[in-house]
Subunit: 357 residues, 2 copies
């Protein structure tokens, strides 16, 4: 029996990916020139598909990078001269903050405990803050900042640029991207693709700010926003990009559009409820995030006494789940609930988890 | 009949790649964690394989980036405070120079005409030059700086860091990497892999210089050399890398080691001679690089009257070659001669080219 990966990324490939890889090889996709009309069609179809799947407004654009890590660096290089503020409630939001300090920015963090989210009422930005970084879904702790919170922050801070980490939440949540100015994800989470591609969403306010910054500062080289954008309008990347990755993303996005955004949102919710409901009542497991409205539907974290044993027992049944992040490896498990995970697979996983004691 | 790509990158996949992709999918390689022991083994095998294939000295290390473009940026960020000098004889060597100016460095270029190489005797560096950038094989013009020239430059400048672009020459030439301090390539050229992975080779002098620079300057974030190196020693990347790409590179390198470096060098030379010899005597084609010792064995550039017609006629026979770079699109063709291209395929290509008139 083939293994099923419920790890929070890299994770199980979207169930159509293998077939798309075979087609790509038949079509010679990895061999075509990144300046050819064939590539430009692939690029444009992928971008248009993402726009549609995420309901991006007209004045929002898409650039391809190699990872979400790269987007953190590019945002700081291209959209911040001095001051960024970061809502930090776990390892990944903290890493973005650390990137800012490594780049010599005057970075501030507003923190919540691990497993919690930041109450917008406690957020008070210095007026010279240029960018506020928010993480929608903290992949490390499984805490999910509510979309209402993000809306409140937008209303509180209409002048700052708002950056939203949707690494492990797009396209599984109905996010209104007009609440923020830039957002980003990598493809190995909810999109179920091989790692090595990051997607950077930015609006015309970002382009404006970037154009101001460029007058006085270096904003990088091949992936400086203005150049990435200019090449993107020509359906190309500045460098030879991950052509196969862009093709596969486009094909998976088409599959997801055929399924329908609302179906994806509804199924995510359903499978998540199934997991929380069943495990909450099981003596071995306790949801780590206490406040129900903060519990992630895509990366579910449970406290348990002996994670290695649980992981091992599931592995014997070819079900691969994740351990807790960093220092929580010995006290937590993490389960991904991505679009590729079928209801039947989640039911099977729940059955096995319930049989443990 | 399947197309054969003789384009100078992306190009024909190495002939074993399709099978390795199938095996990777069976093994679940795209789904495994980038912190797992399974990934660490893949990483370590790939690195060890490259070391062996390229005969890297002990004190040389390997880091994985997303492209050679990224390596240009990282070299400038991590190894140069102020001053770099660039030997420029085509589009790609010039782009590295442009990157340096975009990053606010005091960059100098020493130029040769398109299709020529730089005579080491004409190179005179300011004593405060920190890094000298050399391009072994200019993919745009097909001019190849001789290995003896590079050796001379090393002897002339023992104190500067020497960076060597081997994007379209490794592993097809017997390069002695101890002549330089850092070198880099992307995998979609001679290695015949899907684009989206860059390989950065650096020695301990680079690490030393980087450690000095870090005391006063920002050297980036996730791919700052010190961090890339530190994670590399643990057989990991800082971010989730192109796991599938690293796996495939490792497998192709094993195949190449089985074939043997010397066989690859010899076959490259043989196929290259076959192409130059036959086309030189053909009325339609003239080798663009006049001086024989500068003619590339891996990216062969010919002047011809009507490149589109030649390209079109070859395409009808499922042979895909490249057009001239940039403004030479209407007066040149480019033919890749990479390890995946068999003698038989090259003979077939020559036969078709000879039949044109």
């Amino acid at each position: 029996m083939k293994k099923i990966y419920f790890t929070p990324g890299p994770s199980e490939l979207y169930f159509t990916v293998e077939d798309h890889i075979k087609t790509a090889l038949k079509k010679g996709v990895p061999s075509i020139s990144h300046r050819s009309s064939q590539f430009k069609s692939i690029y444009s179809e992928t971008v248009e598909g993402i726009r549609q799947l995420l309901n991006l407004p007209e004045n929002y654009y898409i650039g391809f990078t190699s990872s979400a890590n790269e987007v953190w660096e590019r945002i700081l290089q291209n959209l911040v001269v001095n001051k960024s503020t970061h809502l930090v409630n776990g390892a990944f939001s903290n890493k973005f903050y650390e990137f800012a300090t490594l780049m010599g920015k005057d970075a501030t963090k507003i923190e919540a405990d691990y497993g919690q989210c930041i109450d917008p009422k406690t957020v008070s930005l210095d007026p010279d803050t240029e960018l506020l970084a928010i993480t929608h879904n903290e992949t490390s702790s499984g805490a999910n900042q509510t979309l209402d919170d993000i809306k409140s922050l937008r209303e509180m801070y209409p002048d700052q640029l708002l950056a939203l980490d949707v690494v492990s939440s797009a396209p599984s949540y109905p996010i209104d991207y007009s609440m923020v100015d830039t957002a980003y994800f990598s493809v190995q989470k909810c999109f179920g693709l091989p790692a090595g591609l990051g997607v950077w969403i930015y609006n015309d306010r970002c382009l404006e700010k970037n154009s101001q910054i460029q007058k006085t500062n270096s904003t990088g080289t091949y992936h400086r926003l203005s150049h990435l954008h200019e090449m993107g309008l020509k359906n190309q990347n500045p460098e030879t990009p991950n052509v196969l990755g862009i093709y596969l993303l486009g094909e998976v996005v088409k599959d997801m559009l055929r399924k329908g955004q609302e179906t994806i949102w509804r199924e995510t919710q359903y499978k998540s409820s199934l997991l929380y409901h069943n495990l909450e009542n099981h003596s071995l497991f306790t949801p780590f995030v206490k406040k129900k409205e903060w519990r992630s539907n895509t990366t579910l974290v449970f406290e348990c006494k002996n994670p290695s044993e649980v992981i091992e027992k599931l592995s014997e049944k070819n079900m691969i789940i994740g351990k807790g992040y960093g220092k929580y490896a010995d006290s937590q498990i993490r389960i991904a609930n991505f679009p590729t995970h079928s209801k039947e697979q989640v039911e099977l996983l729940v059955d096995i988890l319930l049989s443990l004691n």
